[in-house]
């Protein structure tokens, strides 16, 4: 089965600093989703990556998928308190038509003013 490892598990960053969260798969990724979850709430879709080497940005958040499609990184520039939450990567396993997502362990991000 697909296994996703996220690092770090938690991150405390001063406001204004940059940070990176990683998501590593044991198998080739067919699609990789990044979500953000506020404590005890639903998931907010951030980005989806599909092609090796792909990079997408939304406001101050950039996500990349490596060429081998086994690792993705999420980078936040000039962090703000609104970025605080739990970041989850979710993967579509490499078999066409299977859209079930397997989720990573999550990274809890705290922003210090």
């Amino acid at each position: 089965s697909q296994e996703l490892e996220q690092s770090p598990q938690s991150l405390i960053v001063q406001e204004g600093k940059n940070l990176t969260i990683n998501c590593t798969s044991s198998k080739t990724l067919y699609g990789l989703y990044w979500y953000k979850q506020k404590y005890g709430e639903g998931l907010i879709f951030l980005m989806m990556l599909q092609k090796g080497g792909e990079e997408k940005s939304h406001e101050k958040i950039t996500a990349k998928l490596d060429e081998k499609k086994q690792q993705s990184s999420l980078h936040i520039t000039a962090s703000q308190p609104s970025h605080a939450g739990i970041y989850l990567c979710g993967a579509v396993p490499f078999n066409f038509g299977n859209e079930k997502l397997t989720f990573g362990t999550g990274t809890r991000l705290t922003i210090i003013p």
Binding site: G31, G40, E41, G42, L43, F45, Q50, G90, K100
Partner: protein, 114 residues
């Protein structure tokens, strides 16, 4: 994009009772899923809700414990049956319209079983 609502948003239930969670999507979708998020944990897929047929359950989840209905392309229910404190979790539904399409999530139902 799809907007997903869930009811109830939270509930506190007694051991041995059952709770039905509703998931409503504002547009027709192909795929609907139910996930469980236990305290401090990531999401685990319970089942795929299939329109007009029985749900497809993941390993470790059975129909008797988590019966699911999906009568049409915009609505699904998940029932947590004969609850125990171990069922205390956030239950989330998600929906998508096909491979590589974004999966959107509902706000979740926070269940506490006493």
């Amino acid at each position: 994009s799809a907007v997903i609502s869930q009811k109830p948003s939270r509930d506190i239930c007694q051991r041995g009772t059952s709770l039905t969670i509703q998931c409503q999507v504002d547009s027709q979708v192909t795929m609907m899923f139910w996930y469980r998020q236990q305290p401090g944990q990531s999401l685990t897929l319970i089942a795929t809700a299939n329109q007009g047929s029985e749900a497809t359950y993941e390993s470790g989840f059975v129909i008797d414990k988590f019966p699911i209905s999906r009568p049409n392309l915009t609505f699904s229910t998940l029932t947590v049956s004969n609850m125990s404190p171990e069922d205390s979790s956030i239950y989330l539904c998600s929906a998508g319209t096909g491979p590589f399409d974004t999966q959107y999530f509902g706000p979740g139902t926070r269940l506490t079983v006493l």
